[in-house]
C-alpha cells in the first residue's frame, strides 16, 4: 500500500477490500503469497483446502474464529475475552506451519534456539 502513508488510509483499505488478517484468514493467505509467491486464487484455494473450508469462508470472521480456535491459529487478543489456554503469537505460528505444511522461518529458528529441533 505504500510506506509512509498516513493515518486513516489503512482502515479505509481494510474495510473496503481486505480479507481481514487474523480476524479471519488474511494472514494465512498473505503468508502463501509472501513466501510461496502464490497468486490470490491459488493461495486462497491452498489455504481453504488445508483448513477444510471454502475460499469464500476465508474472509468471514464468524467461520474463521471457530476454525482458528480449533486449530490453535491465534485470534484477536482481548482481556475482555481472555483465552489463556489457547495458542497465540509464536505458539500459533507453530500450528500454522504444521497445518499449512510450510516452513515458517521464526518457528524453525525457535526450535533451533530452544533445543527442540
Amino acid at each position: 500500500m505504500g510506506s509512509g502513508d498516513p493515518h486513516g488510509m489503512h482502515n479505509a483499505h481494510a474495510q473496503a477490500a481486505s480479507i481481514g488478517g487474523i480476524r479471519a484468514a488474511g494472514d494465512l493467505v498473505a503468508r502463501m503469497q509472501m513466501t510461496r509467491g502464490m497468486r490470490l486464487k491459488e493461495a486462497k484455494q491452498s489455504v481453504a483446502g488445508r483448513l477444510g473450508v471454502t475460499p469464500f469462508d476465508l474472509s468471514d470472521p464468524v467461520v474463521m474464529t471457530d476454525v482458528r480456535n480449533e486449530l490453535g491459529f491465534g485470534r484477536i487478543h482481548s482481556y475482555a475475552i481472555s483465552q489463556p489456554a489457547q495458542a497465540n503469537f509464536i505458539e500459533a505460528k507453530f500450528n500454522i506451519s504444521r497445518v499449512l505444511d510450510i516452513p515458517i522461518n521464526c518457528v524453525e529458528k525457535f526450535k533451533d534456539r530452544a533445543g527442540l529441533a
Partner: protein
C-alpha cells in the same frame, strides 16, 4: 432544458469538485487515452469505462468489493513507531485493524541508514516475531541517491550530468549499485537470521535505472541464498527513469520500462510479490487518474506468475496526494483495482 446533476468527486490533490456524470465519463476516457499515448497500452473498453463510471459517479460515502472477493493488503510501514513502540504498532495493526501482513521498518526507511543499525533491527525483528502472528517482513527503500555525495561516498551523478560528464556520472552510479547490492544482501542475512518472513524493497527505482538494477540483483542473490524468504519488490513510479541509460538485466534495457516489463524482470529475478505504481496527476480528477492507472497496470495481470499488489497509497494508484486521505477516495481506488484488474492485493 434538463441540466445534469453535479456529483461530488475529487481531484488528484484531494479537493472536492462537482462534475456531471458525462464529465466524469469524459475524464475516464481521457485518462485511458493518456495511458495509451504514453505507454502504448491498449485503451480501456467501454465496459471497463462504464464499470469505473458506476464507482466514481456513485454518491455514496463508502464503497467496497463484493463479499468473498476480498484481497490481501501488504500493509507496508505498519511498524514504524506511529503511535507507540514499533512492536506495539505491529500488534495494533494486527489486532485492531486485521492487517494481513506486517512490516517492521525505521522512520527514515533508507537502506543506507539501516545498514548502520543492522544488529539492532535484527534484534527487534526477533522480538517482534515472538509476539505477532501475521507474516512479518522488513522494509526499506533502496534510495540509491544517499550513496552519492554529500550523503555518501560516490560522486554525485546529479551534479555530474548537467556538466556533461556522462561517463563519470555512469561510473558513480555503477559504484553505488555495487554498494547497495552488498548492503541489501547483508540486511537480508541479518533479518533472515532474526526470523523475518520476507524483505520489502519499497519505492524501487526512485533513483532510476541503477536503483532498479540494484534491487533486481539483490533479489536474485537473496532468493538463491534463502529460497523460503519472500521478496516484495514495489516500484517508485510508473516509468523507470534513465538516469544511467545503458543498464540492462538479462539483455533488457531498464530505462524506460513500464509496469508490465518491470513485473517480468522482477519475477524473473525471483521476487515473490510485485507492486506496480502509477503516479497521481494532482491537476486531474480521480476518475481520470484511476482510468490511467488501470490501463497502465492491466497488461501486468495477464503475464503475472506472482502476486501483483498495485500501490494505492498517498499520491499513487488513484489515491489523492494529500496527507490525511479521504476514505471515499481510498475505497474507490481499492474497489476499482479489485473489480477491473482482479489484483492479488494492494
Amino acid at each position: 432544458m434538463n441540466e445534469e446533476t453535479r456529483l461530488p468527486t475529487r481531484m488528484g490533490d484531494g479537493t472536492f469538485v462537482c462534475l456531471t456524470r458525462s464529465e466524469i465519463r469524459a475524464d475516464l476516457v481521457a485518462g485511458s487515452e493518456a495511458a495509451t499515448k504514453r505507454a502504448k497500452v491498449p485503451l480501456l473498453g467501454d465496459d471497463e469505462i462504464d464499470h469505473l463510471l458506476e464507482i466514481y459517479a456513485s454518491p455514496v460515502r463508502f464503497i467496497g468489493v463484493d463479499v468473498g472477493e476480498e484481497i490481501v493488503l501488504s500493509c507496508d510501514g505498519t511498524g514504524m513507531k506511529t503511535h507507540a513502540t514499533r512492536i506495539q504498532d505491529l500488534q495494533s495493526y494486527e489486532q485492531w485493524m486485521g492487517a494481513d501482513l506486517l512490516e517492521l521498518c525505521v522512520g527514515d526507511y533508507s537502506l543506507k541508514v539501516v545498514r548502520t543499525i543492522l544488529a539492532y533491527e535484527a534484534q527487534y525483528m526477533h522480538d517482534a516475531q515472538l509476539c505477532t502472528i501475521a507474516p512479518l517482513q522488513y522494509g526499506v527503500m533502496p534510495n540509491l541517491g544517499l550513496y552519492s555525495k554529500p550523503d555518501g561516498p560516490c560522486d554525485n551523478w546529479n551534479e555530474l550530468l548537467p556538466l556533461g560528464k556522462i561517463a563519470e556520472a555512469r561510473a558513480a552510479e555503477e559504484e553505488a549499485v555495487e554498494m547497495a547490492v552488498a548492503d541489501m544482501v547483508k540486511l537480508a542475512d541479518s533479518q533472515w537470521e532474526a526470523g523475518a518472513d520476507a524483505i520489502d524493497w519499497d519505492t524501487t527505482g526512485a533513483s532510476g535505472d541503477p536503483e532498479f538494477l540494484a534491487a533486481l540483483r539483490a533479489t536474485k542473490i537473496i532468493r538463491e541464498k534463502y529460497p523460503d524468504m519472500g521478496v516484495e519488490l514495489g516500484m517508485a513510479g510508473e516509468f523507470v527513469l534513465g538516469m544511467h541509460g545503458e543498464l540492462e538485466w538479462g539483455g533488457k534495457r531498464l530505462a524506460g520500462l513500464w509496469p508490465k516489463d518491470q513485473l517480468l524482470l522482477a519475477q524473473e529475478a525471483g521476487a515473490t510479490m510485485f507492486g506496480p505504481v502509477v503516479n497521481v496527476n494532482t491537476g486531474k480528477s480521480l476518475a481520470w487518474n484511476m482510468a490511467r492507472a488501470i490501463a497502465l497496470i492491466k497488461p501486468c495481470m495477464d503475464v503475472a506468475t506472482i502476486p501483483v499488489h498495485p500501490n494505492a497509497g498517498m499520491g499513487v494508484g488513484g489515491v489523492p496526494m494529500f496527507v490525511h486521505l479521504p476514505s471515499d477516495a481510498v475505497c474507490r481506488a481499492a474497489k476499482s483495482f479489485v473489480e477491473l484488474l482482479h489484483v492479488d492485493g494492494l
